[in-house]
Structures are given as C-alpha cells and as structure tokens.
Symmetry: C2
Subunit: 178 residues, 2 copies
Amino acid sequence: MYAVWTGFFKTVVTGQQGSEQVTGFHMAGEMIGFDGIDGDRHEVDAVALEDSQVCVIPFANLQMLAQTMLSLQKQVLRWMSREIVNDHSAMLRLGSMNAEERLTAFLLDLARRLQAHGFSGYSVLLRMSRQEIGSYLGVTLETVSRAFSKLQAAGLLFVSQRQILIADAAGLRQRLER
Amino acid sequence: MYAVWTGFFKTVVTGQQGSEQVTGFHMAGEMIGFDGIDGDRHEVDAVALEDSQVCVIPFANLQMLAQTMLSLQKQVLRWMSREIVNDHSAMLRLGSMNAEERLTAFLLDLARRLQAHGFSGYSVLLRMSRQEIGSYLGVTLETVSRAFSKLQAAGLLFVSQRQILIADAAGLRQRLER
DNA sequence: CGGGACATTGACTTACTTCAAAACTCGTGG
DNA sequence: CCACGAGTTTTGAAGTAAGTCAATGTCCCG
C-alpha cells in the first residue's frame, strides 16, 4: 500500500493493447493500492504528477497491525469503501453525463477535496494535463479544452492554462441538476 | 451487507435529478453493500432481476466475527478489492471503448463469471433488459440492440431476445485487442 | 386472442472525435 | 537577455459514432 504524504498522483489502467484510462487522482492523505489485495499484482500504475513523497506500507504489516488496533482495521475498511463510492460516481459521470457535465462534476469534486485538505476551494491549480483529464472523463483533450472555454464564456469560472478560478460554484452545481 | 444466495441483482446509483446508472450485476456467491461502510447510508440501490434469496449480514456482526476469524477478515478485504478492480474495468470500458467493444467485454465477463459458477460459458440467458445493459455500458438500448445484431452478423454469436449463444469466444476476445 | 412490455430496425440529428493550424509556456543555450 | 524549440493548449472545420424519434416485430401472460 502507498500512503500519499505530499504531492499528486494519477492512477492508470492499461487495456490489452495500450489503451490507457486514468482511474483516479490522488493527493496527500489518500491511499493507493487497494486493487492489489485480491490478486497478487496491482492492476493500476500510479504516476506522480509532481515531486511527491509516499509512505510505503507492506500490506502484510498493515494487516498485522490491524488485528490488534481495531481503529486501524475500521479505517482500512472505510478507505476501501470510499474508493468504491468514488468509482461509482466516476461510472455515473462516464455513463450518463455529457462532456460539459463531466468536467463540471470533476472540478467540483477536485475543489471539494482540495478544500478538505486546507487549500482554497476556489482557486485550483491543475496538476494534470488536458489529456489526462480527458482520459479520466472519457473524452478527448480537445473536448476538455472546449468545455473549459464554454464554462468560462458562461461566466462560471476563469481558465488560464492550468490555473482555474471557480467564479460561481453554485452555478456549476446547478448545471448538474439537469 | 447482503450475500446473494440465489438469483440475480443489479445495483444502481441515482444522480441528482433521477439520472440512473447501473453500476453492476451480481449473481449467487457475490456480496453487495460495500459502498455503505464509509458513510452511514448505502449509495446504491440493489434491485432483484429475478426471484432471489439473500443473506442479510449486519456489518457489525461481520466485523466482530472477523476479529476472531482471520480468514474471514482476509476474505472481506479480498471481496472489496475485487469490487474495486471490477469498477476499474468498468471505467476502462466506459472511458475508452466504443459501443461494440463495450458489449463484447461485458458479455465475455458475464460468461466467465457464469462459468465460474458452474454454468455454461457459452449459453448465456440474460437476466436484464437492453435498457439495463445500456445503462451499465453508457449507451442507449438501441445501440445495445444494434451492437448485438452486428456481432451476430459477424458470426461471433447468436441472439434471440435474451438468449445469447457465444459462437466464437476467441473471435470476441480478439475484437478487444484493438 | 389481445394487450402490454420488450426488442429490432430505419431515418435523421447531434455531440463528440479527428485532423490541422495557430498561440501560449517554459526551459535551454547561445 | 533573447531566441529557439518542444510540449501543451486553444480554436476551427469536417467526419462519424451514437443518440433520438418513430414504426414494426416479437414474446409472454391473463
């Protein structure tokens, strides 16, 4: 298991012949590697998107500790449960939203998580490229770029390369209530 | 937690204003409800697609038992890990495959799971409607129907309403190696 | 036998992709 | 300090896969 200490990661699954799909972005305080418990190999690759520090925790150790520390055992289950819930929202995004809605939902989620970590909930510095956002959202990088431009034209946010300023969070949220 | 004893279920997440997304199908021997551990409510609804029997397991009980039975604790982690891996393949399907590939991957996965449960790996009786398959795969029911017809025209399978006969599993697998 | 739900197929429309060009950013070296 | 070049982002124009709307067909059950 890998606990992100500082920095920012993406996790990627690779299909048979090289088709890549970003399955998530991970910041400080989050865990990576729950996919490797069942099989004996991790199904995803984790890639740092900036200089980062992780704490490597052999799963056997975690499990041993959890036997005596009940709170840790609970925490592991909560982490995994949270990942499952996250993945289900990702499926909802990918399966039943258009490009603009996907980007909106993604941004709101990112801003919320950043805020939970003590950062501003309005000024977001993206660590990932349009390409990577597109992969995560199941659209092309061009579509991501166009969706950004459209949201900016609608006065909901300001975009300058990777610096995003959310001008109207309520307005963004409203766009998801189709 | 709910352990499926007999029958067949779908799980569904509902977006803000009623947009539905099927997040999975579950057959005998599989567990439902890992999404409810973190929050205090389940995020998905489970719906039986035929007469079914489940074993209801209060999570607190499971947790208590797991403390003394090490093997059970491991099993819980394995179940959850497997769900995470499954969700990631679902994301890969939704994010980087076209309609025909999504249906192909879905069918192969379903056949594999049925076979693992002692059923035929070739003759598949679908328990869900085109609508529900479409929701799971992020396409419309018409697109599902057309994809079925196309795979049949290619001689890879035979379709008669909900009865599917996989004629060329290797050929189907090959279609995924784009 | 008839009605209702589900599935298939066709014709048309559209959101997104693809291909291509121009603009911006940033690090490197002259 | 500026110029160059590579990588990234934005924007436009054209093509296409899938959505939408609608008609027809099929199955099941009362």
